[in-house]
């Protein structure tokens, strides 16, 4: 599916249902918005705190997000029978901001066959 098609999907709805029975859902609070590019210091810290949600960098668009999670789920071997849990992965390059800091770590969360991911501090 193309990025424009993914962008039409509402927050919390399914971006992709996998053959394993898991569903990758959209979580807009972790997505980059253009306004973030002009922020720094306290405003950036506040908009990327846990109440507003950490944010992925713009290159983590929804096409990339879905593809990356799908690959990780395959490696993890998670499927519809897997219970709730999470897995954290360190990457070589920055992936987003959490509490105003650039971070290279992502947590994938599985909750009742529903999956999403978000940047976290190291």
């Amino acid at each position: 599916m193309a990025e424009d098609e993914y962008r039409k999907i509402a927050d919390g709805q399914v971006l992709k249902k996998l053959g394993s029975g898991l569903e990758i859902v959209r979580r807009k609070k972790h997505e980059w918005t253009p306004e973030l590019g002009s922020l720094s210091g306290e405003p950036l810290r506040r908009i990327t705190d846990k109440i507003h949600g950490s944010k992925f960098l713009p290159q983590w668009n929804l096409v990339f997000y879905v593809q990356w999670i799908e690959e990780q789920l395959t490696l993890l071997g998670w499927d519809r029978h897997t219970g709730p849990g999470s897995h954290t992965i360190d990457l070589a390059d920055p992936v987003g901001y959490s509490n105003g800091k650039a971070v290279r770590r992502i947590t994938i969360v599985l909750s009742s066959r529903v999956v999403h991911a978000y940047p976290v501090e190291s």
């Binding site: 927050d11 609070k29 507003h52 949600g53 709730p84 969360v109 909750s111 529903v114 976290v120």
Partner: protein, 134 residues
């Protein structure tokens, strides 16, 4: 519905906050991801499973029933959209956003009360199984 008035540091809501709530009928459990208070966990989110047939499960069920009546929808999933916004998802595919500026403030406030209690229930349940988390 309008969001509630601002709380500390300009936030509309304070932790614990429901990040996502899913009622899993096949496993007979509530699967809850929540944003914990800093005194409980420094992590952005924590996760807990609450069996339907437990005291906490009955409490969540009661709150969800109230939310269903308030919003007049068969809620299957709830997601935190950020700050004071939530989205409610029905089995039919219908979606209601709590911060949509087309509703009643009293209805919105009542919904927040139910969600706040679910979040606190989840946080206490989390502490019970992860006492060293904080």
């Amino acid at each position: 519905m309008e969001p509630p008035t601002e709380m500390s540091e300009g936030h509309l809501v304070d932790p614990p906050i429901v990040d996502s709530l899913i009622g899993d009928d096949s496993r007979r459990e509530w699967s809850v991801i929540f944003i914990p208070e800093d005194s409980v966990s420094s992590r952005e989110k924590e996760q807990v499973v609450i069996p339907f047939d437990s005291a906490d499960g009955h409490r969540v069920q009661l709150r969800m029933q109230r939310l269903k009546e308030l919003l007049d929808m068969d809620i299957e999933r709830v997601f935190h959209v950020g700050d004071g916004d939530y989205s409610f998802h029905a089995r039919s595919g219908k979606v209601i956003a709590l911060a949509d500026p087309h509703g009643r403030i009293d209805l919105s406030m009542k919904a927040y009360v139910e969600l706040a209690d679910i979040a606190m229930t989840a946080q206490i349940a989390f502490l019970a199984v992860a006492p060293t988390a904080h």
